[in-house]
């Protein structure tokens, strides 16, 4: 058992160390090369367009599920007027960023790992290097930035679609009309809630981008190697996102307590 845990710990440290070094390379390359935003914008457009239908579809259903679940609980306390606020708050705070990042990991993360892995095992990345171009700059930076920026865009669009879907479902299944639904939203969310959702989204987007690019870029061993890279990218991304969800929730709730404390000190609203 001890040996197993030692091996697991060693493997986890090795994996995180590799990821940190790779992130360092991306950061260094991004900072040392100025400005060509063309490839990044092309990736943002491509990723956002490819993922939008999936995000919209999932968003509507996730919103609907939350409405149905919250409605059961709120109805017990005759508090259905809070349905809109509670639903939107849950979507922005946690469910939205989490679901969108899982979808991104499944769709774009797997695609990126497979694409880069294939380029690696068919020597395309070596060829780029031999032709005097830095493959991190040419291949990785646009994909990395593209995924991170797209995750924020998709969060915004996904939330919009999800809240709209929630309103429709709340209307016909709970009898809460659009106005009642919308009027309770400001009671539950603030600018801080949006910023928190965005922070989570950027964090998870970074994880998806980093793990997918790393696993694809370091793939080896032909078709099996590419398959392994894609599988590992999916497994590690989901694992890291769940861990990051806990950590970001802790940080955000700590910041929320802090802001609540300062508000009390200033004599403002609690």
């Amino acid at each position: 058992m001890r040996l197993f845990l030692q091996k697991l710990g060693h493997q986890a440290l090795h994996e995180l160390g590799d990821l940190a070094l790779f992130a360092g390379k991306i950061l260094r390359t991004t900072l040392s090369t100025h400005g060509n935003m063309g490839p990044v914008l092309s990736q943002v457009a491509s990723i956002s367009l490819r993922s939008l239908s999936t995000v919209a579809f999932a968003g509507v259903f996730v919103g609907a599920i939350l409405v149905l679940q919250f409605n059961v609980i709120l109805a017990k306390y005759d508090a259905q007027s809070f349905l809109g606020g509670l639903n939107t708050s849950a979507l922005i705070r946690s469910v939205g960023p989490l679901i969108i990042s899982f979808l991104l990991a499944g769709k774009i993360g797997a695609y990126t790992a497979a694409e880069l892995g294939t380029m690696r095992v068919t020597e395309q990345i070596d060829a780029i290097e031999c032709l005097g171009t830095n493959p991190i700059q040419y291949l990785i930076v646009p994909r990395f930035m593209g995924i991170v920026i797209s995750s924020v865009i998709l969060l915004a669009l996904g939330l919009l679609i999800s809240v709209t879907g929630s309103m429709v479902v709340a209307n016909y299944s709970a009898g809460i009309n659009f106005l009642q639904f919308a009027s309770s939203i400001p009671k539950f969310i603030s600018i801080g809630t949006f910023l928190g959702g965005m922070f989570k989204s950027i964090t998870y987007g970074t994880i998806v981008a980093l793990v997918a690019c790393h696993k694809g870029y370091t793939a080896s061993g032909g078709a099996r190697g590419v398959g392994k890279a894609v599988t590992l990218a999916a497994v590690y991304t989901n694992l890291y996102i769940v861990i990051a969800n806990y950590l970001t929730s802790e940080i955000l709730s700590w910041l929320e307590s802090l802001s609540h404390y300062f508000n009390l000190l200033a004599g403002g609203p609690t």
């Binding site: 380029m119 068919t122 020597e123 395309q124 070596d126 060829a127 031999c130 032709l131 005097g132 171009t133």
Partner: protein
């Protein structure tokens, strides 16, 4: 102007691929590296352009140490060396034109779009391909054509050194002869130094100036074609005896080749 390996050792995990290997390739020379699969032929080639680093030893290109070169110095070395990979290694998302132009766009002396297009057409013509495939994606042309486009891409920036990793694998006999003639012509007429990794002893005897045979992580033999032919080493004898089945005309050494203007 040469490529020099000094006491190179390279291992992958517990497996030693190269052990204390030393050799030199002079300007304009064609060196064939032969050996069984997995003896480190491709590893040797990739160390010349710094894609792989040796565990110990030094690799020099034009007296510049590749093993300790900075990223910028390494980029300069790579611009002098064109490498043809075992796979065509063309970028799937780019057209044939963009693939062949790839190295030209990153060159230190910027070229106009018209100059780039002209060079691309010239290099494609050199490998017997016409302008009709310029806008095709690599997946839309045959494997043999992909290999030739890959060769054109390598030739486009006019490198001083050409490194070939099994350039004729998967090609038909006519294209194989064509590629071998091209390597010979580039060396004789443009003084391009070539290092060719291959299994093909017949081809080596036909166009090589020198042959290096790798076996069990070391150099088994290194010398001129005549010296290699005289070797009593069993592996070399086995390579030579394999060739007895080949048509005798393929063994006749090349003396000159048409195609490339001197």
């Amino acid at each position: 102007m040469s490529i020099r390996f000094e006491s190179i050792s390279k291992s992958f995990g517990p497996k030693t691929i190269l052990n204390n290997v030393t050799f030199e390739v002079s300007k304009g020379e064609i060196l064939f590296i032969l050996g069984k699969s997995g003896v480190g032929k491709s590893v040797t080639l990739k160390q010349i352009v710094g894609i792989l680093k040796p565990d110990t030893g030094k690799v020099y290109v034009d007296d510049e140490d590749v093993t300790t070169a900075s990223q910028n110095a390494l980029a300069d070395i790579r611009k002098k060396c064109g490498m043809v990979f075992q796979h065509p290694a063309l970028l799937d998302s780019l057209t044939v034109l963009e693939n062949v132009a790839f190295g030209l766009r990153t060159s230190r002396a910027p070229l106009s779009e018209a100059e780039i297009r002209q060079t691309v057409l010239e290099k494609l013509a050199l490998v017997n391909l016409g302008p009709d495939i310029l806008q095709s994606k690599p997946t839309e042309i045959s494997y043999g054509m992909q290999k030739r486009v890959s060769l054109a891409r390598t030739l486009a920036p006019a490198p001083s050194y050409l490194l070939f990793d099994e350039p004729t694998t998967g090609l038909d006999p006519i294209t194989t002869n064509f590629v071998n003639d091209l390597i010979f012509d580039l060396s004789r007429k443009l003084q391009v130094t070539s290092v060719v990794v291959s299994h093909d002893m017949a081809c080596a005897l036909k166009i090589a100036d020198k042959i290096l045979v790798l076996d069990q992580a070391r150099i088994l033999a290194h010398g001129s074609v005549a010296e290699i032919k005289k070797s009593r080493e069993p592996l070399i004898q086995s390579f030579l005896s394999e060739m007895l089945a080949e048509p005798t005309e393929s063994l006749a050494p090349r003396t000159e080749g048409p195609g490339i203007p001197a």
